[in-house]
Symmetry: C2
Subunit: 429 residues, 2 copies
């Protein structure tokens, strides 16, 4: 087994030399990496079969599905790598340029971080997405896959490295830790001088451990308690469609809605419509209905409405329900006085991931967009759009919920820092 | 004494409402803050007198000088506040804008962090600089002054708050901790949910404590082991002037040079010139001479050169000398094979603050600028220019030596994060 410290040292060396990679060389290598993934289909599927086999006892069906590969999923991984070829090279962009009175020319230029480490769980496509994003953005990457997916991730990494080698590039730009113990994750968190950026992708526990223990710079990716606020001036049909989408299109993801706030003036009309759409219609269409956990004002309105045994989908909200990422067919519902109270509620309860207003009133929309301090603030659209692909960034390294450096979906640009290059002809101070 | 937790809560509230501050309102308040500083001259000077009086036993003369105020220094502080009026408002800048195929309009907009906390030591102007930068950039600030300067910092803060009040702005946008114990600094480091950004300005110990203990996002400001590399193609007269400036114009600051590297082809000519300039000339002009700590190759060249008892300024470099921030009239001197070895040496020994090449060879300059991964890389200019004022940022919040978010001098722009504002007309995914 390759020692973690050896991997970190060679990653650092590879990163230090990566400044000479041209866009052409990087794009050629990305193509070779995509081809190598396809060529290694059998090895990857066989490793994946073993991973799935041994994981079956210990993890849920949803997780097994996340872990499982087939031919078309491998092709999708290769397509993800290829998609980066068309995106602009983020390295060496002159962000600002100034000529000072003393003649100094100061340029602020985008440069890679150096070594980026990613700790993730069981989704094999993260291996190729993260490696390809790091490579195109001039970073060396050190991957630390979850134990359940290690065999698969290892084969995927081997294929990507073969692609690099074929093009004469340094294979050490893409490496995976062979040690999948908790200690190896901790080693990355404490690898000062070796890891320039650490991105944890996974559950709450992992993120918390990184934030608390890391001595290297971390970007938190995180939980989403996302709100949709239905304003007095909302188009209620639009609102109910947005909420059904935000809540039910994929309840297990971080950009799914967890809380619906409704302006008191329209609550009497809107809440019955919401109930009709999320409960009655879905039940009659054979879909999973959404449980509504209502605050006092919402309960009063809905108590007179439901009939025919659907009362079990209307519950009184408990103390925790407005602070919970359900990741399930459950929606907390509250009535608020106005857009200001909605923004205040969101400031208090949101995880500042994605929050939306539905309104036809430009003033209310502008107030909400200015007052709500979240990574993504929506006007008349579903929170589900917070995603690297949907934002046009290509595949993503995760969605940052912190404010330092990157916020929201992270793509190539977010894997850059900058430096100042100052040119003179002998200036002294 | 006001409790730290009470201060943090009111800072958070003030920050949440700061989105409604227009540029005009902010500039009017900055003017009022500057006027209030001048008006409070007597109170500030009297508090400063007490601080200086009680500090005299415990701190050095240099520190006493840093701590001491007089009328013209207070005027300079007010001028620093006023200088921000002319600078563009960093808040609400649309950094990127895209219209997606589905009609969504995605804007990436600069927004303040929220609450910015600054832990600093004994320079009173940091109080007004930091508070004014935070205010103009839409942040609430929580200041934590060193104990030695507390009376002064408190009076300065009071004056700034009077300026805010006069304009009807929320005074809680500028607050100072009244507790100056170590615990109050630790409280800021751990104030998750209250402090959005922590900037420590001070010695190594403080920075290290913040990096190790902080649970809130920190920007490290830091030590500078800055290099000047004299290339084979250097104009040697230019080189020696740049080095004298970088080393001796203010040896105690972080952008001062600590290491000189010389290409082997010119070392035989250049090192005697360096010795002449930094030792002989300075001695004969009654200035402090620079002690040269030489590696083996540099020693061999210089051993034949010095005479007349100046040998004491030429020493053999010890193991630590290429990794030490001397902050003194000492320079480590080494001979290297070429620009590549110079860059390798810098990668290994630099703190990635500011490093320079002196050369007339464009290829060598471009190689150095690309290969050296420091916050500021100079071609034919002194490292002393790494400074907010010199870079045109106005006064500065410190010089970041980390790569996450901000690098080099931090001004108004670096006190911004961003959010995505996404506008649609009912889009769902």
């Amino acid at each position: 087994m390759k020692e973690t410290s050896v991997i970190l040292q060679s990653a650092k060396r590879a990163a230090e030399e990566a400044f000479c990679l041209t866009t052409e060389r990087k794009n050629a290598a990305l193509e070779a990496m995509a081809e190598a993934l396809i060529a290694a289909k059998n090895e990857i599927l066989s490793a994946n079969g073993k991973d799935v086999e041994s994981a079956r006892q210990s993890i849920s069906d949803v997780m097994i599905d996340r872990l499982s590969l087939n031919e078309s999923r491998i092709e999708a991984m290769a397509a993800g790598v290829r998609a980066l070829i068309a995106l602009p090279d983020p390295v060496g962009r002159v962000i600002e340029r100034a000529t000072r009175e003393n003649g100094l020319i100061i340029e602020k230029v985008s440069v890679p971080f150096g070594v980026t480490a990613i700790i993730y769980e069981s989704r094999p496509n993260v291996t190729s997405d993260a490696a390809a994003l790091c490579f195109k953005s001039g970073n060396a990457c050190v991957l630390r896959s979850g134990k359940e997916a290690f065999r698969t991730s290892f084969e995927v990494t081997k294929a990507l490295r073969r692609g690099l080698k074929k093009c004469g590039e340094n294979e050490d730009l893409i490496q995976i830790l062979e040690d999948t113990s908790r200690e190896s994750a901790t080693a990355l968190m404490k690898a000062e001088g070796y890891v320039d950026l650490l991105i944890p992708r996974g559950g709450k526990g992992l993120i918390k451990a990184c934030v608390e223990q890391a001595k290297v710079p971390v970007i938190e990716t995180g939980t989403g308690i996302c709100h949709v606020y239905v304003d007095a001036a909302a188009d209620l049909q639009k609102a109910v469609k947005i909420i059904e989408n935000a809540k039910t299109s994929r309840p297990s993801v971080c950009n799914a809605e967890e809380v619906c706030l409704v302006h008191k003036n329209v609550a009497g009309t809107f809440l019955p419509l919401l109930y009709q759409t999320l409960v009655k219609n879905r039940l009659s269409e054979g879909k999973t209905a959404v449980e509504l956990r209502c605050d006092k004002r919402a309960s009063e309105i809905l108590s007179g409405v439901c009939n025919g045994g659907d009362e079990r989908y209307i519950k009184a909200a408990g103390a925790e329900d407005f602070d919970t990422e359900f990741l399930d067919y459950i929606l907390a519902v509250g009535v608020v006085d106005d857009v200001r109270s909605a923004a205040e509620h969101i400031a208090k309860h949101s995880t500042h991931h994605s929050d939306a207003i539905v309104t036809e009133d430009k003033k209310a929309a502008d107030y909400f967009a200015a007052a709500v301090d979240s990574a993504a603030v929506y006007v008349n659209a579903s929170t589900r759009f917070t995603d690297g692909g949907e934002f046009g960034l290509g595949c993503e390294m995760g969605i940052s919920t912190q404010k330092l450096h990157a916020r929201g979906p992270m793509g190539l640009k977010e894997l850059q820092t900058y430096k100042y290059v100052v040119r003179g002809n002998g200036q002294i101070r």
